[in-house]
Amino acid sequence: MHDTSAHAVQHHAPTSFIRKHVFSLDHKVIGKQYYALALAAALIGMVLSWIMRIHLGWANAAIPGLHTLSPNGAPGGVLTPEYYLQLMTMHGTIMVFFVLTTAPFAAFGNYFLPIQVGAEDMPFPRFNMMSFWVTFIAFLVLVSSFFISDGPTLGGWTQYAPLNAIGSSGGPGQGLGVVLWMISIALFCIGQLLGSLNFITTTLDLRVKGMSLMRLPLSAWAWFITSCMGLTAFSVLMPACILVILDHVAGTSFFVPSGLVLNDQLVPHSGGSTLLWQHLFWFFGHPEVYIAIVPGIGIVSHILIANMRKPMLSQRVLIYCMGALAVLSYMVYGHHMFVSGMNPISSLAFSFPTLVITIPATITVLIWVFSLYGSRLRINSASLFALGFISMFVSGGVSGFFLAQPSIDIMLHATYFVVGHFHMVMGVAAMFGIFAGTYFWFPKMSGRMMNETLGKVHFWLSFVGTYCIFMPFHYLGLAGNIRRYSTFVDDFLQPLIPVHRWITVAALITGAAQLVFVYNLIHSRFWGKPAPDNPWEATSLEWSTATPPPWDNFGGKHPVVYHDPYQYGVQSSVGDYVMQASPEQVKTDHEEK
């Protein structure tokens, strides 16, 4: 461990508006900027999903206003098949990259990791500022593809080759739309690489006196592990995107083999490999699932402990489990490719680590659930979303049993079962982690409390609503309902349309419930009750400082850490907890590390 003071901060308190709020070097401002970006992206992604859901339930329905947005994509307000796919691609890309990666990892991590380790800032504040602005530009580039002549790419968020590399003869958006997508994601990767470097060095080098690695809160551990994944995963996706751009603009053929024919014309490429893209993409893509969910695991653990008023059964086991998930995430990526034409022996080789990954995931769930035993569980918006996270993590996790097996994947691959699985576990569970984090940390970030009643209304509608949406996805998949179809014309899909209508209604209601959250967020930011420094009687360092924290986090002081992060259920001068930075000696059941 290190004393932070000397090297942590190279910058001084900013005075100008631009330096304070726009091009800020302060990790807290950057964290809030990431949060705002994620919130805007989530709202756009949600509206896209509404449009898709209406179309899937009622294929001929005219959606008001859509004609104005895209006269070609939605003549008379009715989606064309290609525009459906373009919206679907943008929904997936925006949600996976700009919401599920930015909010739990980049937003909360930026804001709280330095404070939780006791640092005044990240070690490379300029890289940190660049990381956000590069990500912001990446978002603008992606969204700009809505406004080019043939619209965004329609190839899905996975952008499979060779559809991604053959240009506009492959369909609308497959020319410039793909190039913009690839530029956007390559920029996004640069932003996350810069962020990951900062997170790793902050954790390893800037911990204050007394803050051993095992004294880091679980949320800090989660961000640290996630940044290690980010460093290795994004550094593979970025060059892959550049290779696709070269296939478009430089006449290379990394992903296009010879002999392809489009519109009765030979495609002027040869020598490329289509499976190469899948290997590169999924080597990033599966760790990305864990990049989205591991911060949630850490955040939810951190919040639950404060609300259970006792530590988890084992902090160490949870850390090892998060580490195991991260390591295994690189060894399982081939389960996305069981029926891709990859060697069938490889499928078996990828199947076993995928099955093994259920062990650390199961241990994590068991630790959470059995830690509730004997607790004094406080029910509030933050803890409800944290508990909801566990329920969703379980529901999304068990469907992994099926998809880990190549033989069963023959029936379920590319069906709504897969869509249900990943929406539940990396979509909804991760979103619940973000919501839990928001209700928990909002007072520290803004200096005001959020409205609890509205928070609970938001929770109930979201919890019941998401089950109404995503459980039926699994049933549809079992019946063979294929994903990425804009309309269901096959004979066997017709009887399933009523299920789609049910899902559409549930999605519209659940989506509308998110507006309650947005209202609560904005209203509380300006008119909420002023927050005390430690409203949840929590122990970690972010609660030791002022609310909101000063620009250097601890007002020129350097906290010293005396305890494990979760000293709850003890007798002390302040109540049933002792803060990490309090020198007060405590008689405790659990062993100090």
């Binding site: 078996l348 068991l366 049993f401 029936m411 063979g480 004979d491």
Partner: protein
């Protein structure tokens, strides 16, 4: 509110399980010789995943019911077994269960992918292109003529790019837009992608396999029940993806021979 939450989790868990138990939505009956292994694997996995799902949700609900909002006077307790017991339980119960699933699942996978087709399996070539399947039968000589992609011209119905003038083996090849196969006869499906990635999925046959541009992929299966089934594309291939389909007719031997004669006459 904690107790109400516990009830909600309980109700959602039970309601979620009902359609599974009632088999409300499921795959149609299997018509292949290998499919029963996949179905058995699916049932066993459903049982294990279902039990895990219900156990975890109900336990979560129970603990929330028991321990929420107990007030500050109540005594804190720790689960007696501690983390060690949970780790051992997870490794022994879940670990062994899922690994057993994996080991037994190898048999079902091997039935499709790790056994070669028999020597007398009937070869059929299927070509996938935006947004249609075409099928080619080798004709009486039993051999497929070579493909010449540069000759493909859909306007003149030259879907595969055959050169019947120069390639002797191509002359008796039969090209169709629908697929017919004889019942109880093994088929060796040679898969060729014309443009981008596509997939071949027939639910009743328990087969799904991607077409990979630039790569020869094959499948083999035996259909056991006469009938008409849908072949659909499951790999996103462009704007007409949703509409890319063909029919598979599984015919009796006599009907198949008759169909083949008709198709040959139409070439």
């Amino acid at each position: 509110m904690g107790k109400f939450f516990a009830i909600t989790i309980f109700v959602i868990a039970i309601l979620s399980a009902i359609p599974i138990v009632m088999h409300t939505w499921e795959a149609p009956a299997d018509i292949s010789t290998h499919g029963h292994l996949i179905d058995e694997q699916m049932s066993e996995t459903m049982a294990e995943a279902g039990i895990s799902f219900l156990a975890a949700q109900l336990l979560l609900a129970f603990f929330i019911w028991q321990f929420s909002n107990r007030g500050t006077e109540s005594k804190l307790k720790s689960f007696p077994g501690g983390a060690r017991a949970l780790v051992i339980a997870a490794v022994l119960v879940v670990g062994v269960e899922v690994l057993a699933l994996g080991v037994f699942g190898v048999k079902a996978w091997a039935g499709v992918y790790l056994t070669p087709p028999s020597a007398d399996a009937m070869p059929i070539q299927v070509q996938a292109g935006q947004f249609a399947f075409y099928f080619r039968y080798p004709g009486p000589d039993g051999k497929f003529g070579p493909l010449h992609p540069e000759r493909i011209n859909e306007g003149s119905q030259e879907f595969f790019g055959l050169d019947k003038e120069h390639d002797v083996e191509s002359r008796d090849d039969i090209v169709t837009a629908e697929m017919a196969i004889p019942v109880n006869k093994e088929v060796h499906l040679l898969m060729h992608a014309k443009d981008v990635g596509h997939s071949f999925f027939v639910r009743e046959l328990r087969v799904q396999q991607d077409f990979v541009p630039g790569l020869d992929v094959s499948l083999h299966f035996t259909a056991t029940k006469v009938g008409r089934y849908e072949i659909v594309c499951t790999q996103l291939c462009g704007l007409g993806h949703y509409n890319m389909k063909a029919y598979l007719d599984v015919l009796s031997n006599d009907d198949f021979n008759e169909w083949m004669k008709k198709q040959a006459a139409m070439q």
